[in-house]
C-alpha cells in the first residue's frame, strides 16, 4: 500500500520532466515552423540553401553510417572472437569519441588533414582537399559516431558465444557463410539499434562538423549548421523549418528501424511460444 502513495507523483514527475525537456520545446519548434501557414514554411524549405543542407546531411549519413556499420561489426568480431595483446587498447580507443568533445575531434582532424596539417602538403600536392569539403564532413561525422555499433554488437557477440559458429563449421560452412547465416542473424537486433544510434548522431552532429566544414552555405552546410546560421542571420522561419526537416529525417530512420525490429519481435515471440 505504501507503493501506491509514490506511484502517482513518480509518474507525473517522469512525464513532467519529459514534457519540459523534450515535448514542449520540440512541439514549439513545429508550431513556429508552421505559424505563418504551410505556404511560408514551404517557401523557406524550398530555398536552395535549405534544400542543399538537407541533401548534404542525408548524403553524409548515407556514407558515414554504412562505413561505421562495417567498421563496428569488424571491430566487434575482432574483440569478441580473437585474443591478442593490446585488445583492451582497441576497446578503449573506440570509446574516445564518446568521451571527447566533438569540437576537439573536429579540431584534431584539421590539425592532421588540414592545409597546414601533417598530411596537408602531401594531400595538396595531389589535389585532394579533405577539410572544408565533403570528405572532411564525412570523416568528422564518422569519427563522432564511431562507438555506437561496437557498443551494441560486442556484448551480443560475447553473449551468444562461439558454439553455434563452430557447429556451422563442422557442418561444412566456410567463414563467410558462417557469418552470413549464423552470426549476422544472431546480432541483428543489437546491430539495428547501433545503426539507429549512429544515424541519429550523424544527422544531429554539430560541433565536429562545424569545425571541419567551414559552413559555406549551399556548399558545406549541413542541416544543423543551416539552422544555426539561420538564427544568426535573424531568419527564424528557416531555422524552424530546418529543425523540422531534421526531426522528420530522424523520425523516418527510427520508424524504418522500428518496423524492421517489430518484425523481428514477432519472430522472437513466435520462437518463445
Amino acid at each position: 500500500m505504501k507503493r501506491s502513495g509514490w506511484r502517482l507523483p513518480l509518474r507525473f514527475g517522469v512525464l513532467g520532466y519529459l514534457a519540459l525537456l523534450v515535448v514542449l520545446p520540440v512541439s514549439t519548434v513545429f508550431y513556429r515552423a508552421f505559424e505563418h501557414g504551410l505556404g511560408a514554411a514551404w517557401h523557406a524549405f524550398s530555398a536552395p540553401d535549405a534544400l542543399h543542407a538537407l541533401w548534404l546531411t542525408l548524403l553524409v549519413a548515407a556514407i558515414a553510417v554504412p562505413l561505421n556499420t562495417l567498421f563496428g561489426v569488424g571491430v566487434s568480431l575482432i574483440l569478441a572472437r580473437h585474443r591478442f595483446p593490446g585488445a583492451w587498447l582497441l576497446d578503449a580507443l573506440v570509446d574516445i569519441p564518446l568521451a571527447v568533445s566533438p569540437v576537439v575531434i573536429g579540431l584534431a582532424l584539421i590539425l592532421v588533414y588540414g592545409k597546414t596539417g601533417w598530411f596537408g602538403n602531401w594531400l595538396a600536392a595531389r589535389g585532394i582537399t579533405l577539410i572544408f569539403s565533403l570528405p572532411g564532413i564525412i570523416m568528422a561525422s564518422a569519427a563522432v559516431s564511431l562507438p555506437y555499433v561496437v557498443r551494441e554488437v560486442l556484448p551480443v557477440l560475447r553473449e551468444i558465444g562461439t558454439e553455434q559458429e563452430q557447429a556451422a563449421r563442422t557442418l561444412g560452412a566456410g567463414p563467410f557463410t558462417v557469418f552470413r547465416r549464423i552470426t549476422l542473424p544472431n546480432i541483428r537486433r543489437g546491430l539495428a539499434y547501433g545503426v539507429t544510434l549512429t544515424t541519429a548522431r550523424v544527422l544531429g552532429e554539430f560541433g565536429a562538423v562545424a569545425v571541419v566544414s567551414g559552413a559555406i552555405a549551399g556548399k558545406t552546410q549541413t542541416l544543423t549548421l543551416f539552422i544555426s546560421d539561420s538564427i544568426d542571420n535573424l531568419d527564424p522561419q528557416s531555422a524552424y523549418v530546418g529543425a523540422v526537416a531534421l526531426c522528420l529525417a530522424a523520425l523516418l530512420v527510427l520508424t524504418i528501424l522500428t518496423v524492421t525490429d517489430r518484425r523481428r519481435d514477432e519472430w522472437h515471440s513466435k520462437a518463445a511460444l
Binding site: E163, Q164, Q166, A167, T170, L171, A173, G174, R181, K270
Partner: protein
Amino acid sequence: MSIHVQSISKRFGDAVAVDDVSLEVESGSLTALLGPSGGGKSTLLRIIAGLDAPDTGTVRIEGEDLTATPARHRGVGFCFQHYAPFRHLTVRRNVAFGLEVRRRPKAEINARVDELLELVGLAHLGGRYPSQLSGGQRQRMALARALAIEPKVLLLDEPFGALDAQVRTQLRQWLRDLHDTLQVTTVLVTHDQEEAMEVADRLAVINHGRLEQVGTPADMYDHPANEFVLTFLGPATRLRGEWVRPHDLVVHRVEDGKPSAGAAEGTVTRVTRLGFEVRVDVALAAGGDCWVQLSRGSAAELGVAAGQRVWVARAETAAPASPAVPILSA
C-alpha cells in the same frame, strides 16, 4: 570408419590438456572417452573434429591424415554439450543446414530432412524453434543435424550432461539403438562411468590428459590397469592391502570361525541400507577400514549390526585380483 590419433598433445598456456595420447577407434564401434571433468577428453574430441589444433601428433580418419584439414572439410558430425542449436532457425532448417551449405537440390534436402526427423522422433516438431523444444528434443535435433551430412564419424561431447536423470536414461538406450541401426563410428565424451559402461562397447579412460587404459567395459572393470581406473570405474575398497570390489567380499560371523586364509577380522561400525543393497562398514582389527556390499537377503540372514565382530573375506566367485594393480599396504 576408423579413427587413429597418434601422439596427440595439447597445452593451453601452462596447462597440459592432452598429454601424448595415442588411440585407435575401430570402424563402427561406439567408444566412450571417460574421465573426470577437466581431464582433457573434450579437448581430444575437439582435436579429432578439427575445432582445436593439436600442438603435436596426427589425426587420421580411415587412414587419411586430416591433422591440417579444417573442421568443415573433415566430414565429422559433432554434437556439443549444450547442443549449439541455431536459435534463429526452425528444427527443419537446423537439420537441413549442412545440406544447404553443400548446395544439394531442394527435393533431396527435404527428403533427407524428413527421413532424419523421423529417425530421431521429431517429425511433428519440424516447424518449431529450438527454444520451443525440451532438452531431450534439442539433443535429438542436434544429432539429426550432425547426421544429415552423412558424417564419417560421429563425435558427441557429454551428450547427456545437460539432461535430467530420467530423460538421460531413456536417451542412453535410444542412442545405443540408434548406433546399432546406423553403425556409424561414434566417440562420446562422458565423466559418468555408469553411462559409459552402459552405452559404449569400448572405453578409453583419460585422466590429467593421459590415456590410462583402453578396453571393453567388462574387461576394464575386472582387470583395471591401475588404481585410478579401478577406483574410477566402480566402487573399490581394500582388504589386507589388496584392492577389491565391495560386492566381491563376504561377511561371516566371528563365531562361525575363520572362513579362509585371506580373511580379516574386524568390527562392524555401521550398516547402511541403500535400496536393495546394504553397505557394511568394518573397522579391521589389523588396522584400516573396508566396506562390504551385501544384498538385503544376505544381510538379513547374517543379522549384521553395528558393534558385531565379523570375518571379512573374498567371495569365491570374485574376479581374481588384477595383477596389474599394485598391492598397497593398508
